[in-house]
Symmetry: C2
Subunit: 223 residues, 2 copies
């Protein structure tokens, strides 16, 4: 059985969980706070980051959410998520990088620092200037999703792909942390509400991160 090392608000772990669920791959969750830098975790991943996926029976360890997703895409035929021509696949990977890197750096990472780490680790209050800037950037990223959904049924084209899972994973964490203002984003909101009701997404939305509470609309499929 696969073991996924993660914490509930790690967006990269959420992407992996969505992919594994869509593909019907069973896994156990192992709670890991990477900032605690446990020795056993460092043995699995010297870079000390989540997610890591480990299969003790088969002695396989895979590090990095993109490496993990490509691995399951190559080894499990069900529900292909990096699909189509080489050009389609390149467009899927462009958008994965956009959400994993730009959205994360502009929005998810500052929200996690200010609203999660400062609360749980540093015992400080959040910096409201940084929070405002993260929300402003979230708004620009949602504008781009609106634009894509105006032109295509799913973010990367005609079918659902890992780009949608990557985007939904980042957005769900930002939404949990109160960073998303959905008004003015009809298209993005419509696309995201389809995800919220998927069986792969329900377990994520029902989890809570320690003492941090999401806004009431967060897990509401009709919001």
């Amino acid at each position: 059985m696969w073991q996924l090392y993660q914490f509930p608000l790690c967006p990269f772990s959420r992407k992996v969980r969505l992919l594994m669920s869509e593909k019907g791959i069973a896994y156990d969750l192992i709670r890991e706070n990477p900032w605690e830098q446990r020795d056993e975790f460092q043995n699995l991943n010297p870079a000390l980051r989540t997610p890591v996926i480990h299969n003790p029976e088969r002695q396989i360890t895979i590090v990095d959410s993109r490496a993990i997703c490509e691995y399951f895409e190559e080894t499990v035929d069900k529900a292909p998520m990096i699909n189509g021509t080489a050009t389609n696949r390149a467009e899927i990977r462009r958008l994965i990088a956009l959400f994993d890197e730009n959205f994360f750096a502009d929005v998810t990472h500052p929200l996690l620092e200010e609203r999660m780490k400062k609360r749980l680790v540093y015992r400080q209050s959040p910096d409201s200037r940084i929070l405002r800037e993260a929300m402003r950037m979230a708004n620009l990223h949602l504008d781009y999703i609106d634009y894509l959904i105006d032109h295509r049924p799913w973010l990367a084209g005609a079918t659902m792909s890992l780009a949608d899972l990557a985007a939904a994973a980042q957005i769900s964490v930002a939404d949990y942390l109160g960073g998303i203002d959905w008004s003015q984003h009809e298209q993005a909101r419509g696309w995201y509400s389809v995800f919220k009701s998927r069986p792969s997404f329900r377990p994520l939305l029902s989890e809570r991160m320690d003492v941090i509470h999401p806004p009431t609309h967060y897990a509401d499929v009709n919001a």
Copy 2:
């Protein structure tokens, strides 16, 4: 013909150039300073980052170095660089992420900010504290390369892979900017010197970035 939008010290563009050369794919270089945020460049890549690869005849644009490398790996058989079993491929991709993300964030990015952008764009002098920290981190990353090369002929295993190209690309930029102290790193130095004499690497080493000069050992294959 492919057009590669890049500037000489962009490590991700260097990785793409190494891959294209190894695979024998012809390309033209287009000089792009992403921080100038040209409108034409934003039309190619809304995220305003290099590298971008564009083929006007075939109307293909690919953004993000990992998406570009996976695309050439899928479409050009020569010199496979993400090869082997699914587990081998995952190990290659883990190391690509380590160099593209951790080495870049810890070493290449601060060196580029302090020694290139402050000089060319902000007209400021570099912060020596940040430079020292980047060099300390470079040392730790080289320790890890020493460890890998003690156990394997190439970074990800028995054959040269995109992990080697990704690492060499980052290190070459850090070395250009005076961030690498090669003493104490026999294994990493031996591995890197093999690269320096490869035909794919020679054109990179002979290029210069505007008024910024590399140390004398930089392009010397015997150093």
